[in-house]
Amino acid sequence: MYMRFSVRRKLYIFFCSVFYPEDSFLSVVSGGIEMAGQRLCPMEENRISVLVVDDEPVALKSLQRILEADGYDVLTAANGEKAVELVESGNFAVVVTDLLLDVLSGLDLLERVKNISADTEVILVTGHGSIDTAIEATKKGAFHYLQKPIRPGEIRSIVKQAVEKRTLALRVRELEAGEGPAFSSITGKSPAIAQIKKLIKRIATSDSNVLITGESGTGKELVARAIHETSPRRNGRFLAFNCASFTDELLANELFGHEKDAFTGATRSAPGLLESADGGTVFLDEVGDMPGAMQAKLLRVIQEREVIRVGGTKPVPVDIRIIAATNKDLKKLCEGGYFRKDLFFRLNVIPVHMPNLADRREDIPMLASYFLRRYCRKMNKTINGFSDEALGMLTSYGYPGNIRELENIVEHAVSMASGPIVQVENLPEDLTEYDVYTFHKSDDRLKSLEEVEREYIRWVLDRVGNRKAEAARVLGIDRTSLYRKLKRFEFKE
């Protein structure tokens, strides 16, 4: 029986080596991660990532070729440890692993993968199958258990089923959470972002004006878009306008439009932005920089719900919702007489404050991965994640430019990186060479011990991939205490 199996296995390996000979497309790193080198065709948008784990290079390669032919983004690992590293740094839909591996068995890997990313489906492959291991694998959450030799059609079909199951599960969760595509651009799982998402849902049905405050680069416009897309006005237009970009006259023309012959060159009448957004939402960015005369005109629009074009006398009714945003302290500007108090109260019906990125550090790894995927697609590169040191540096930096700066740093890193992982030396020099302390305005408020403890525990959990035992070890407390604290702080898994 064993002889027969062994001969079949050798034939299988021979078949693979004949049909999938070594070529320059694959580079094999001994004992480590095996990566596809330069891509021959451009990476498509939203390609699904599959990780294949096997200690036999030939089997590994053939599986990679089979799945790549189906359009998957396939990464390979020669052992369980490397596979865990890859799963920690990437977002895989499916992991196909051999059952017998060095150090970490396929079943152990299954457990680790499920701990790191419960959504990832795991398919176990074995040449030494038994009913007991099949049952154990199923109990531990394996999607399928396959006997070697694998037929290409069979593995294709099973991986396809696994991807479909995962996609459906994610979609169901998204729907259960009431989060549609409007929220997909607001990345993060921190309590602050969860609060903002909740608030957006709560104010979706209302038609009140919204004032979004927060430092530059915190994502104010994304929130404004999300509010518009979840509101009954979503079928109307969303028009964004930067109030600091224009002079007084141009601002009036852009916002209110003009009548024919209102000024030299006005050969015909044209509606302004407020009229064009009728039935929709207008987003006024940097409203704190709006000149005084324009503030009075805007106040009139809000009160009367009508606009008068430049050079015109006839009011035109408009049905718009105004979402304003500023990085300035409007209350202080009101006190100094630089901003109209009545306009401030009209705009500040529903205040939304966007936190600094430094105040929600736990979102940095997720945001960094999001930008990494985006720029890998743009630059046609395959990078799986960040080294621990690089991620540590990204997490500890203060980000005076908030998310916009993080995006820029990741773009720089992707363009500099030549390997499968972003290393510290790929980050901008001024971050690696110097320690940078950043004091945000919110630093004025002293945090309570509980707030600091809560933030630190969350940060540690993120760093150790949500492994409680490891987190407890790092924090220097036992697991029971950690669970008690998690319950007290109401952390969601």
């Binding site: 430092e215 920089d289 540096m393 971050l431 690696t432 110097y434 004091f439």
Partner: protein, 145 residues
């Protein structure tokens, strides 16, 4: 579009490399122009100490910022530093970050001598994040010096 600015604050003719390097990096990442403010105290004779050397170093720093393709403007203020800084901030319409390049480390100034240092008096009036770079004492793995 009105330009956004990164303000580099320098003191008494000194241009620390770490502050200059980080200002350039930050301005490039945020798409900002750079404003360099040199604050100098006057001595008993009414002339700032180290004025000539300070001007020379400042000129070199400005050249370096320009060579990185960034827009730069500068200002030299003599006299009381706190009011010099406030006056300069008031003239900048949109400030994205203030990079501290002064003599004392602002992080330790804040912790140890809060209230003593002139910058602490004006810090609440700064309308943007304040950044204080300093030479790294420990390097991440793989970047040992």
């Amino acid at each position: 579009m009105s330009p956004k600015w990164v303000l580099l604050v320098l003191e008494d003719g000194m241009v620390p490399e770490e502050s200059l390097c980080h200002t350039i990096g930050l301005a490039r990442r945020l798409g900002c122009s750079v404003s360099v403010l040199m604050l100098m105290e006057e001595n008993v004779y009414g002339t700032p100490a180290g004025y000539e050397q300070g001007c020379k170093d400042l000129e070199q720093a400005l050249d370096r910022i320009r060579s990185e393709g960034l827009d730069v403007r500068h200002s030299l203020e003599h006299g009381e530093k706190a009011s010099g800084l406030l006056k300069h901030i008031a003239l900048i319409p949109s400030l994205s970050a203030l990079v501290w390049g002064g003599k004392e480390d602002i992080a330790s100034t804040r912790k140890k001598r809060k209230g003593d240092h002139w910058f602490e008096r004006v810090r609440p009036a700064v309308p943007c994040p304040i950044v204080s770079p300093r030479v790294r004492k420990t390097w991440p793995q793989g970047l040992g010096r």
